[in-house]
Amino acid sequence: MDEKKALLLEILRELGSAKLARIQEVVEAKRMAQPEKYSALTGCNLHELLAEMAEEGLVEKQVPEWGAPVYRAKL
């Protein structure tokens, strides 16, 4: 699996289920604390990555009628 996706999956497993705002916050904190491990999670396109992972069946994306989607690791 792509390194970015593996790292993101690991973070999602830690969080249980989360909205993108929370995921971004955790990614930012981890990038600061352990840049050598999390530097692959660079840029601000995590939502695109998560959408791709949802299509691949790695992540479950729940989209409410009106509100931000919630993500959960499937595997």
């Binding site: 909205k19 993108l20 705002a21 929370r22 995921i23 971004q24 916050e25 990614v27 930012e28 990038r31 600061m32 999670l41 660079t42 840029g43 601000c44 396109n45 995590l46 939502h47 009106w66 509100g67 931000a68 989607p69």
Partner: protein, 412 residues
Amino acid sequence: MLPESLREDFPALRRLRNGRPPVYLDSACMSLKPEQVISAMLEYYRSFPACSGYGRSAHWFAEEVSDATQHARERVAAFIGASPEEVVWTKNATEAINLVAKSLRLRRGEVVLTSDREHNSNLIPWLELEKRGVRHEVVPSRQDETFDLDALQELLTPEVKLVSVVHVSNLDGYALPVREIAELAHDNGSLVLVDAAQSVPHRRVDVEELGADFLAFSVHKMLGPSLGVLYIREGLEGELEPFIVGGDTVADSWYDSAVYLPSPRRFEAGLQDYAAQIGAAAAADYLERLGMREVERHERRLTEHVLRMLGELEGVRFVGVADPELASGIVSFRLEAEGRSLVAPSDVAEMLDARYNIMLRAGDHCVHSWFNARGIGASGSVRASFYVYNTLRECELLVEGVEKVLEVERGG
């Protein structure tokens, strides 16, 4: 305010989705196009879709292309207070900046200074030069995110060959004091490159008054087609080596040598996008008819309105400079609760697009370095950018939409 009737000139604004019209607030990326620009370009494709006569064909259609493109160069040059020989067509502002970066004879140990809020287009070309020993240094902003002229003064050493700064930031609409920056740089013997991608479309820009030696902008942000312009102050063209060469750049060639044409032609290799050049002239005409002072006033009014109304909502945190006296045309913000991100900027943009047809930009807006330095690089901000066709009602819809997002996400 500019008259709302001008919206009729923009065919894209006549569209509907789910019974609602578009609310286009992403002009900092790409502006909409008026019928006048589209018609001017179609006229080329319909009536004389040929090569230019310069150095190429010399027939009926080619002469018409030559006349139209020469007029376009004169028109666009006049728009920024330059002479036609000082205007080089490029693909976009990014290519214009790259042309300077790749062509200016910068030597090992010489320094290029930029601000700390540069678009990647005015950062990455200088980082690339570091590979050959040219140094890149950054002028840090003040605490309030405005440009620090004292910090610039301190960094201006004899090694500084070029100061390359954005005029109006695509992050928040903040206008840097470019005239003062240019004065300090020139006193130091440094050249000045201005990234004017967000200023030329929105305010009156005069290259002489600004003190620019080089100035880059994109026509696609000023109601025109995808095309860039590089202004090179007369007398400086010899400082630049053409970096894309070939057809149209030379007057003559042998198997072992070539004679280059004078500027600007020596920098315009290959067959050009003539329709785009013609469209650029039509865009300049359109904006001149509105009046650039009026354009600036219109956008400032919209900015004030949005800053005031969004500022009244609990949970809206502005990013960058949020003062309509210093920044206009762009409002950048995040939705937060107790100092933490409440809704991801990309989620805000998606929700407002889906519900209200409000088109915004979310993310780092190609200013990743600025967001990363402030610890919000993974999320960025929501950016609303305004132009001549936007209205106060659209601004109110944006605020209404943001208020609704806040309400929903707070569980209200």
